[in-house]
């Protein structure tokens, strides 16, 4: 796991509420056995028409979105299925942070384990970000802050353990395996067994 401390990028705005994981990556692309190369399927049915041609009106297909790493989404981003293919597709496409007023639980957990930063802001800040696409944002993972072009600093909540792992580049599986003696003891002493 690579250490992630800072993301500096222009924003791209997808204002629709309740963007679900089926929109992020449709189920028919889940027959893969790999986590690589899923960026081509990101928002597939919003990006491409039935003939495979780019839908030019879709925000990610517009020239201004080129290279943007911070996606501002509508409320309740990432709802729906538990498919980790959703953060894999976003990261592979080049999106490194998602900002919304609410981010669905499983999607948020999956994102944090892959280095995609889920950022929840209040409604006022969200409105500002939605109405100002393409602005330069500076995210510090270590400080849990989002800095606007005018220098205004917004703190965002992030689980302290997840942040520590992101900043230090620690794999959570390694941490969990360090608990194996305690886990074994739990198994041997619990009052009932499954």
């Amino acid at each position: 796991m690579q250490s992630i401390t800072r993301i500096q990028s222009k924003s791209v705005v997808l204002p629709t509420r309740d963007i679900d994981t089926d929109q992020i990556i449709p189920a028919r692309f889940l027959t893969t056995t790999s986590r690589e190369g899923l960026g081509q399927f990101l928002f597939h049915d919003l990006r491409f028409d039935k003939d495979g041609e780019k839908i030019t009106s879709f925000v990610l297909n517009q020239p201004a979105a080129e290279g943007c790493q911070i996606l501002i989404g509508g409320n309740n981003f990432g709802c729906g299925s538990s498919r980790e293919h959703a953060p894999w597709a976003l990261l592979d496409y080049g999106i490194r942070a998602v900002v919304s007023t609410e981010i669905a639980d499983i999607f948020r957990n999956n994102s944090l384990k892959n280095g995609l930063i889920p950022i929840v802001v209040d409604t006022t800040m969200h409105q500002y970000l939605l109405q100002n696409p393409g602005i330069d944002l500076d995210i510090s993972i270590a400080d849990a802050t989002l800095t606007l072009p005018d220098g205004k600093v917004v703190e965002f909540p992030i689980d302290r353990f997840a942040r520590y792992c992101l900043v230090k580049g620690i794999d959570q599986l390694g941490y969990l395996r360090e608990q194996l003696d305690t886990i074994r003891n739990f198994e041997e002493t619990r009052p009932w067994t499954p």
């Binding site: 309740d18 089926d22 929109q23 889940l30 027959t31 056995t33 039935k50 538990s82 980790e84 969990l176």
Partner: protein
């Protein structure tokens, strides 16, 4: 009273291996890990890279359901998987289970089926257990008073390697349901109404406990439908207190405890319901008595109305407008004028025997309308056999419906069973997301009774007109 606990808190605290601190999440022990072909190959790859074994294969149970075809076959040897990638994924599942020593209920097993159908059916799902699966509808198992939730593939790897997860304790939400469901209104309608009331993010960060007379009156299959859709309200999990209905369902199932073990288990399970004075972080009340059959009109399960109610006009909201444009549904009118192309009865939400019986009761003596394709996909091979023993397959086939092998099928269209672009589907599944059932597919979520009535009428229809 100090120390009064909810059902969730009892199950949670019984599984904490290492306490949560400000800096570190709890280490939570997992009693049952269900796995399927779609969300596990990358997790097994991680184990292989690190040269790790599956720590507790005895607590891991595998099946194949998402990518598997449902086309009727006389022998599993005739099964033809649709698409090279799906075939590779299924082959990979068979290899991984063999190499890591995990029991796989695969092709040829009479116990194969949708993962959230077979867990309970086999008695592997039990009160007080922690159950996870790389699948958001794992919340289904909460109907037994288990703490069951969906996880991502990285977490699947964590459970395979350690039998534990790193978790922050969620908050609790009580949903109290008074009254009793009227005739023609099922638990599917109730959960759709609940999601309509609290919203698709109403449960975010919470574990729901469904309570009250309308819940305790439900049989286990109806309770599973409720808990199944907890995730559609954004909840981490949904739970229902175990009671005699639960114990009666479980007794004698292949993996249920037996003899003295059964008595000890039931005694332990009776302690699980929330203490009378336990407090929830939030609570919501709803009455079942006035409910109608419910149908969704938009592109998330919270966009739902009673079958005879007009679609509300909230089109000043761009997200709402976008959903209605996709669905091509007019506002101000009920959905009952909408023409139906496809009817799907199946999925981990509504594919159990009672669901099929409810659909068959409506269909009996009727033909489905010209131009409507109806798929009936039992949740497991076992349910298929039971339904055939009751003659339900003959009712479906006589009405013009297709009777299939078990699987997830048209709920998410991964296996070749899809709704065509622009077609309208009345579906007993759980998600009406854009493109969920196929590119451009328009999904109306409903109960098995409403789905069957709609197949007969050729338009979205109130099942109560067909009740005998």
């Amino acid at each position: 009273m100090r120390g009064a606990k909810t059902l969730f808190e009892k199950v949670w605290s019984d599984h904490v291996v290492v306490d949560e601190t400000r800096d570190t999440p709890a280490v939570l022990y997992i009693d049952l890990h269900l796995i399927h072909e779609v969300t596990t190959p990358q997790a097994f790859s991680v184990l292989q890279q690190h040269d790790l074994a599956v720590r507790r294969p005895d607590l891991t149970l595998a099946t194949m359901d998402h990518s598997t075809p449902t086309t009727p076959v006389s022998s599993f040897k005739d099964v033809k998987v649709v698409g090279a990638n799906a075939a590779r994924q299924i082959a990979r599942m068979e290899e991984n289970c063999r190499d890591f020593g995990i029991e796989l209920l695969g092709f040829g097993s009479e116990q194969r089926g949708i993962v959230h159908v077979i867990g309970p059916e086999l008695g592997a799902t039990q009160p007080g257990k922690t159950i996870v699966c790389g699948d958001s509808h794992t919340s289904t198992h909460g109907a037994f008073g288990a703490l069951a939730f969906g996880i991502g593939t990285t977490e699947v790897g964590h459970v395979l390697a350690t039998q534990c997860l790193l978790q922050r304790k969620p908050r609790t939400l009580a949903i109290n349901v008074d009254g009793h469901l009227p005739a023609g209104v099922s638990s599917k309608d109730l959960i759709l109404a609940i999601i309509g009331q609290i919203g698709v993010d109403g449960g975010t960060g919470h574990v729901i406990e469904y309570r009250g007379p309308a819940i305790t009156a439900l049989d286990m299959e109806a309770r599973m439908t409720i808990c199944n859709m907890s995730i559609e309200a954004g909840a981490r999990a949904g739970m229902i207190a175990p009671d005699d209905v639960t114990f009666e369902y479980l007794q004698g199932r292949p993996r249920s405890p037996r003899g003295a073990d059964w008595d000890a288990a039931v005694a332990r399970w009776r302690e699980l319901p929330s203490d009378a004075d336990a407090e929830f972080d939030q609570s919501v009340s709803i009455s079942a008595a006035q409910l109608e059959p419910m149908v969704t009109f938009g592109t998330n399960p919270g966009m739902v109305v009673g079958i005879n109610e007009p679609v509300p006009d909230n089109t000043g909201d761009p997200s709402y407008r976008k959903a209605l444009d996709y669905m091509r549904v007019p506002t101000g009118k009920p959905l009952t004028e909408t023409t139906v192309d496809v009817v799907f009865v199946g999925s981990c939400t509504n594919s159990r025997l009672s669901d099929l019986q409810q659909a068959a009761n409506i269909l009996q003596g009727h033909k489905i309308a010209d131009g409507v394709r109806m798929l009936v996909v039992p949740g497991s091979q076992q349910i298929k056999k039971e339904a055939e023993a009751l003659g339900l397959d003959r009712i479906f086939i006589a009405s013009g419906a297709e009777w299939r092998e078990s699987g997830c099928s048209m709920c998410l269209g991964m296996n070749g069973d899809t709704v065509s672009n622009g077609q309208l589907s009345v579906s007993t599944s759980n998600r009406n997301f854009e493109g969920r059932q196929g590119i451009g597919a328009r999904t109306v979520l409903a109960s098995p009774m409403t789905a069957a009535a709609s197949a007969i009428a050729g338009r979205v229809a109130d099942p109560r007109q067909y009740l005998s």
